[in-house]
């Protein structure tokens, strides 16, 4: 097993919006939707990113947030990022025939390749504003796309979860729901799925150190490792994960309320 970052060149950088860039890398991997890679920004940091493109050259889509992602947003094609992986279980798209995908913000990244792998799923894409919407073009081609924005600047005004609720209320029968996005959103999707008894696969996010090796425990949610046991979890696991939607661990390992964690992650 070679689990150290190997430098690969950035082949192309796509500006998705003012805050989000997609980095196409000079690398091919045998990966499935929902898996992630650990990305090393030499001398700066190493972070997990979901694969937003898995066929041909792989790509990751990165939202500018902190030290590492700011540095990445300054990089140009030709510069080198180190990658290792892919890691994680990924989504199990296996039997889904009528699927609904719920994406919040940057959480759309791992869900686009999933949408492309499924048979015309319903895709509910949520973002704060029109400007924050991601992958609209790609998603239109492979899914029945619903759009929500918090401010109503595009699509429906409000949360993506309310579309899911409405569809279900209208009698749509989904045999699988997939979601990724801010944890409060995912918690809400989980509750909706639970009440409708629909199998959910939610992709969680936690700060990682060994990222995929499964030995440091940093990413654990009630003793379950997001990097090695997840990052995608089904209803049964989510039920056991009492910290899901509630708390997460800082770099010191201290467990704090999700809000405090999110604030720390913004830095």
């Amino acid at each position: 097993m070679l689990d150290y970052p190997v430098g690969v060149a950035i082949k192309e950088i796509i500006n998705e919006n003012s805050n989000v860039k997609t980095f196409v890398l000079d690398a091919q991997l045998d990966a499935k939707p929902g898996q992630f890679i650990m990305v090393w920004i030499p001398r700066i940091d190493e972070k997990p990113f979901s694969l937003s493109k898995i066929s041909g050259d792989i790509a990751i889509t990165v939202q500018k947030k902190g030290k590492a992602t700011e540095k990445m947003h300054e990089m140009r094609a030709g510069e080198v990022l180190g990658i290792r992986g892919p890691y994680g279980n990924g989504f199990d798209a296996g039997k889904a025939r009528s699927a609904c995908i719920v994406a919040g913000g940057i959480g759309a990244a791992p869900l686009v390749p999933l949408a492309e792998a499924l048979q015309n799923p319903e895709f509910i894409l949520g973002a704060r504003t029109k400007n924050d919407l991601l992958f609209e073009e790609r998603l239109k081609k492979c899914s029945e796309l619903y759009i929500t924005t918090d401010d109503g600047s595009a699509g429906e005004k409000g949360f993506n979860t309310q579309v899911l609720e409405r569809l279900l209320g209208e009698g749509e029968k989904f045999d699988a729901v997939f979601c990724c996005g801010p944890e409060p959103m995912m918690r809400r999707v989980f509750e909706i799925c639970e009440s409708h008894k629909i199998p959910l696969q939610a992709s969680l996010e936690r700060f990682m150190k060994c990222g995929g090796l499964g030995i440091c425990g940093q990413c654990s949610v009630n003793g379950i490792r997001v990097c090695a046991d997840g990052p995608v979890f089904g209803n049964e696991m989510l039920k056991k994960m009492l910290e899901f939607g509630n708390s997460a661990r800082l770099k010191t390992g201290r467990k704090v309320p999700l809000k405090e964690y999110a604030e720390w992650r913004q830095k």
């Binding site: 430098g7 150190k209 030995i215 010191t252 390992g253 201290r254």
Partner: protein, 303 residues
């Protein structure tokens, strides 16, 4: 047939989760216990919270794992909350504490002792990659080992495990000074090296701390030799740690003289089930070789 007595702790089997691997929360310890470990060690804690080194902190290479985590931990106050009640966990839990000075070690030991949750205290005096601690603070000398062990001994009646480095000229001598100062057992060993990995495309060392301690298969033969040397030097039991992946590796350590064995990196190679797997493999070998207890073969490679 795998039961062992380690400083009066009754372990149902000799596999112990090594410090720094998974042991950051009560629930992970529970899970390790459910996976069949005979005991588990928490990740080392310090007086104050520490973020540790920047990422990358842990990588796998061809022959093992390299890490420079740098003792990230939430500090003793958080630890007291996290580990306030371990009663639900049916295996002995070992506390691991590190500090810069003997008095600080003593203070931490006192806190741990008064929690009444832990079955022993481990003192890693041997980290090769964290400034202020272990080898980088000169804690791997007989004098420092002696001073620290003494200071802790005064604060607790719990068994003290002194964890040594493989990167010292005479590990036997070091073990002797720990034994003399009141150590109840020797944990051998901590990580090797340190080593360095450079990415040739970015032309930079990969670990943010540049170098890190080596564990896993690359370490195993060195760890076995260390256990063998320590066994010839002291009377107290030894916990053999380093690159144990299989029942074969565990038996090898016992033959070298170990009473119990630690597993860390093995979780990377075989998953959390490694504890049960190693135990099953040991049992199979014992049955085939008509060995009734580990006591029977302990240190036999010295014969």
């Amino acid at each position: 047939m795998l039961e062992v007595d380690l400083c009066n702790l009754r372990l149902k089997n000799p596999t112990i989760l090594a410090s720094g691997i998974l042991g950051v929360s009560r629930e992970l310890l529970q899970r390790v216990s459910d996976s069949g470990a005979g005991a588990a060690t928490i990740k080392s804690i310090t007086l104050n919270p520490r973020e540790g080194h920047h990422n990358p902190t842990i990588i796998g290479f061809e022959a093992g794992i390299m890490n420079a985590v740098g003792y990230s931990n939430a500090g003793i106050e958080e630890a007291k909350k996290e580990f306030a009640d371990l009663s639900g966990i049916k295996i002995p839990i070992i506390a691991s504490i590190v500090a810069e000075k003997p008095e600080e070690f003593a203070l931490l030991a006192g806190e741990i002792d008064s929690l009444h949750q832990f079955s022993a205290i481990e003192l890693p005096l041997s980290c090769p990659h964290t400034p202020g601690f272990g080898l980088l603070a000169g804690q791997g000398t007989p004098e420092a080992t002696s001073a620290i062990t003494n200071a802790v001994r005064e604060k607790t009646r719990l068994p003290i495990f002194v964890k040594l480095s493989p990167n010292v000229p005479g590990i036997g001598e070091l073990a002797k000074s720990a034994e003399k100062a009141g150590a109840s057992a020797i944990t051998a060993v901590n990580t090797l090296g340190p080593g360095m990995l450079i990415d040739i495309n970015s032309r930079k060392p990969v670990l943010d701390f540049k170098c890190g301690g080596i564990s896993g298969p690359a370490l195993r033969p060195v760890a076995v030799r260390c256990v063998y040397d320590v066994y010839e030097s002291v009377k107290i039991p030894i916990i053999g740690v380093g690159g144990i992946l299989t029942g074969r590796d565990a038996i090898e350590m016992i033959l070298a003289g170990a009473t119990a064995i630690g597993i860390g990196s093995g979780i990377y190679y075989r998953g959390m089930n490694i504890f049960a797997q190693v135990c099953r493999e040991m049992e199979m070998w014992m049955k085939k070789n008509k060995v009734k207890s580990l006591e029977e073969i302990r240190g036999q490679a010295h014969a």
